[in-house]
């Protein structure tokens, strides 16, 4: 990497080398049978160069010819993409608190034990499909730049997932457990989810009405995508955000705080973002008040403000960190926990629905905050009890109006497949269109 940086610098450029190395194995088991095992060993290098206010980029997964990579970046520079920033000097830092070396040695046998144990915990599930999976991996990100940064962030992750799919559908509910060394399932969480699964097996026709809606952590991305798109410096710079003149205004319920904090989490914490900027707690919404427009180096320079450590590689769907350029990102943001247990929130629902799966969450006018999703599944609640799952139901509205109707926030966050955790949020008086 040092050689690559040197070659780029010898062409009169400021340069940044972003590299990754990842190893992983995984096992899937469906209805008691092992159905898939797979593994990967991957690496990659991305080069970004700056010269005369312009930027060039190039990447490769297989660094054989450094001169060719630099030549590709120089060719990209010729196109004239504007870049008014410089790379930060963050010194020499290695962050490996979320790295457990023993995970390197875990393989198929250990993951098999994990899925077998998980399968036993879900042993009562006899209807529909039971899928359990487990995996582990290690990764290392290194950022070197000509300003002096030499940053290494290592992490390990072990995860396990138990999913129960309703008969004849592809919709289900699940638990995800993860950590840097193990993925020990919380038995109480499993039991609760299994109970809800059984209680929600009957399909219920609910008609059209307004009711309480509880967003489970698994469906929270439908809300956070929209908040993230509107509060990004990209949307502000282009003057298309619905939050354009609303900094320090009350926009959503005072019960809700939505915060980017890469120092939080059971693993995958980050001291620096993918541009080498030190991360920090960035409140996007604090007690419902819109506080911060998050950015990256590029948009911070365009808007003449400081970078906030929220420049990450990857998009709405994740994506290849090596191939993608850094952009303003809320990949480490979540709602702050509240003061109600899940059971207390359920007891607050005289009539309502728990949204575990949001069908079509990426559709419609996301920037405006419009949301129209199929409840797939939506667990129907009457008098504080799950009594079935709604048949062919959808909800529609605008998230700013919806989130101003929050009446409770769960006191514990739960992991979802985005590897970030959220509490459940209970909303009042939401329009649900049923069958």
């Amino acid at each position: 990497m040092e050689k690559l940086l040197k070659i780029a610098a010898s062409k009169g450029c400021k340069a940044e080398v972003f590299s990754t190395r990842e190893k992983s194995v995984s096992i899937d088991k469906t209805n008691g049978a092992v159905t898939d095992v797979s593994a990967s060993i991957e690496s990659g290098v991305s080069l970004r160069i700056l010269k005369d206010g312009k930027m060039g980029t190039a990447y490769t997964k297989n660094l054989i010819d450094r001169e060719e990579l630099v030549a590709n970046a120089l060719a990209s520079l010729e196109a004239g993409v504007e870049a008014l920033y410089d790379f930060p000097d963050a010194g020499t830092v290695t962050f490996d608190e979320d790295y457990d070396e023993s995970v390197e040695k875990l393989g198929f046998p250990e993951m098999r034990k994990t899925v077998d144990h998980l399968g036993e915990l879900y042993g009562e599930v006899k209807q529909g499909i039971l899928q359990v999976s487990a995996g582990c991996g290690t990764s290392e990100i290194r950022i070197l730049n000509t300003s002096g940064s030499n940053l290494v962030q290592k992490e390990s992750t072990v995860y396990s997932v138990g999913s129960m799919i309703y008969p004849g559908t592809s919709a289900g509910i699940r638990n995800i457990f993860l950590g840097k060394s193990d993925a020990v399932p919380f038995e109480a969480d499993v039991k609760r989810t299994v109970d809800y699964f059984h209680a929600s097996l009957p399909e219920v026709e609910i008609g059209d009405s307004r009711m309480k809606v509880l967003f489970a952590p698994e469906s929270m991305y439908a809300l956070t995508w929209r908040l993230g798109t509107a509060s990004s410096a990209k949307a502000f710079y282009e003057k298309v955000s619905p939050l354009q003149n609303k900094v320090n205004e009350q926009v959503i319920s005072p019960l809700l705080s939505f915060v980017s904090d890469p120092s939080e989490g059971r693993t995958g914490r980050r001291l620096f973002d993918d541009e080498g900027v030190k991360t920090a707690r960035v409140p996007i919404f604090e007690n419902g008040v819109f506080k911060t427009v998050y950015n990256n180096l590029d948009y911070a320079s365009k808007m003449k403000t400081n970078p906030l450590g929220t420049g990450f590689r990857g998009g709405m769907w994740g994506g290849d960190k090596i191939a993608m350029s850094p952009a303003p990102s809320l990949s480490h943001a979540s709602f702050s926990k509240g003061n109600k247990s899940f059971e207390e929130m359920l007891a607050m629902m005289d009539r309502g629905v728990i949204v575990y799966g949001a069908l079509g969450a990426h559709s419609g006018n996301i920037l405006n905050g419009d949301l129209s999703i199929g409840l797939n599944p939506g667990l129907y609640v009457e008098n504080g009890k799950v009594v079935g799952r709604v048949k062919d139901a959808m909800m529609a509205g605008n998230i700013y109006e919806m989130l101003s109707k929050a009446i409770a926030v769960e006191n514990a966050p739960h992991y979802t497949d985005s590897m970030y955790s959220n509490p459940s949020i209970l909303l009042d008086d939401i329009s649900v269109v049923g069958s």
């Binding site: 991957e42 980029t57 590709n72 060719a75 619905p242 069908l359 079509g360 419609g364």
Partner: protein
């Protein structure tokens, strides 16, 4: 390269082994508003190995050639592990093939300088930006040129080049606090000339974004609808196509029972076909990533289930034939069962006759997102109220919720004009497939649930 791959797997002790090496050349250019935001061309590569031993089947992806021996050992370990877990997988038999395929391109993008591609992107971008009330654009040129080399222990040895191009993005119109966006895109697997002189597409979408500023929100309810060809294609792809992928069906026993070949699933005028052999469509390829020639596969004939999409492994599981639909996103991913092009076949009446037949309802056009399988939810980009068989006022904020089996039965008729999407991105698991084409005619469906914002 094929010789090198043969050598790499020659000493592997397994019942079956294959290796795929892919070199990907990618050019990405993007503009946001008047500003060029990305301009990069990259070359990258990688390997995927798969082994079958004593009924255990596993795969490993690696980046570097020096890691291939370790990957093969890991794959063998995975196969052994699956075998010990009781799996008895086998692969449908296919004839060994030796072939080398280069697409017949109408303008090879590799021969076109990046500056010309930027000029093309900027031209379309400017066309939209100069329309009244257009406040912003977000447009990307993407060129993916993959050269794939596949070798198996059965003697198959294939090289195939696939070149996929698209220009797509969004155009935003703004008036006061009202902001509307419309998705726009053109694409091809047929060469860069197909992307030239397409001004009318971008003008139309910019005008549409502006019209949406004054369109009324649709009122939620149950409507008779006509889906335009793009929405028909999205329904066919998302709801029916994904449910026809055998790897998703095999463990879902209740759904598998419902999807038994010969079962009547829909109105007897509905015919759905998967066909990746159509050369000028974005989902075109000759061989899948198991070295199986892809074949036109009729999935639904006169409303009766006639076929499904398979890998070699799932074909054995269902006692059916391999169809050539086991495809990987790129050099970093193992192949899974996938659609290339899928479409609902056209009918006999004209669009005007279809409108008259519906009489009143909604005419829904284009798609701005959606997902699903048996249950689906799509957002229509825009729509029109239809009264007395005539198209009336524009409406927006339209989401369609439905169930595959109910919808197939509720198809009343379709017109005789079929169109393909030109672009298509499909996510399955962690893989994105940019070679996902879909299409169909305009289709009249009764009693669809429409949610308004």
């Amino acid at each position: 390269m094929l010789k090198k791959l043969k050598k790499l797997i020659s000493s592997v002790q397994a019942d079956y082994v294959d290796i795929r090496y892919e070199e990907k050349k990618e050019t990405i250019l993007s503009m946001i508003g008047p500003e060029l935001k990305k301009a990069k061309s990259n070359n990258t590569d990688g390997f995927v190995v798969r082994t079958l031993k004593n009924g255990g089947f596993s795969s490993v992806t690696v980046t570097r050639e020096e890691d291939v021996p370790e990957a093969l050992l890991l794959a063998i370990e995975g196969s052994r592990f699956m075998s010990e877990a009781g799996n008895k997988y086998s692969l449908a038999s296919v004839d060994p093939i030796e072939d080398s395929i280069d697409p017949k391109l109408n303008g090879d993008p590799a021969a076109v300088p990046v500056s010309e591609k930027i000029a093309l992107l900027a031209k379309y971008n400017n066309i939209m930006l100069t329309e009244p009330e257009i406040s912003n654009t977000d447009l990307e040129y993407n060129e993916t040129d993959r050269e794939k080399f596949f070798v198996s222990s059965e003697g198959t040895s294939i090289r195939e080049r696939l070149c996929t191009l698209y220009i797509k993005g969004e155009v935003f119109a703004k008036r006061g606090d009202s902001l509307q966006s419309v998705r726009v895109g053109i694409g091809t697997a047929n060469g860069i000339s197909d992307l030239v002189d397409r001004d009318e597409v971008f003008v139309k979408k910019a005008k549409l974004a502006r019209e949406l500023l004054t369109a009324k929100q649709v009122k939620a309810g149950i409507y008779n609808v006509i889906l335009n060809p793009e929405l028909t294609g999205v329904f066919v792809h998302e709801a029916f196509g994904h449910t026809s992928e055998a790897d998703g069906l095999e463990s879902n026993l209740p759904l598998r029972k419902m999807m038994k070949i010969g079962t009547s699933l829909g109105s007897n005028i509905v015919n759905i076909t998967a066909d990746s052999t159509i050369p000028n469509q974005i989902g075109f390829y000759r061989y899948d990533d198991e070295g199986v020639p892809v074949r036109r596969t009729q999935l639904l004939r006169n409303g009766v289930l006639a076929g499904r999409l398979h890998s070699r492994r799932t074909a054995v599981e269902f006692s059916e034939s391999a169809t050539g639909h086991c495809v990987a996103e790129d050099q970093n991913t193992e192949p899974i069962v996938r659609m290339g092009n899928i479409f609902l076949e056209p009918g006999e009446v004209t669009f005007e006759e279809l409108l008259k037949e519906m009489d009143s309802g909604l005419y829904l056009c284009d798609c701005c997102g959606g997902s699903g399988g048996v249950n689906f939810n799509f957002a229509a980009q825009y729509g029109y109220v239809v009264e007395g068989g005539k198209i009336g006022k524009m409406v927006r904020g339209i989401n369609i919720l439905g169930n595959l089996f109910t919808t197939l039965k509720d198809v009343v008729n379709m017109d005789n004009e079929m169109r393909f999407s030109g672009t298509g991105i499909c996510r399955k698991g962690s893989q994105m497939n940019f070679k996902s084409g879909y299409g169909g005619p305009s289709v009249f469906v009764r009693s669809m649930k429409i949610g308004g914002i």
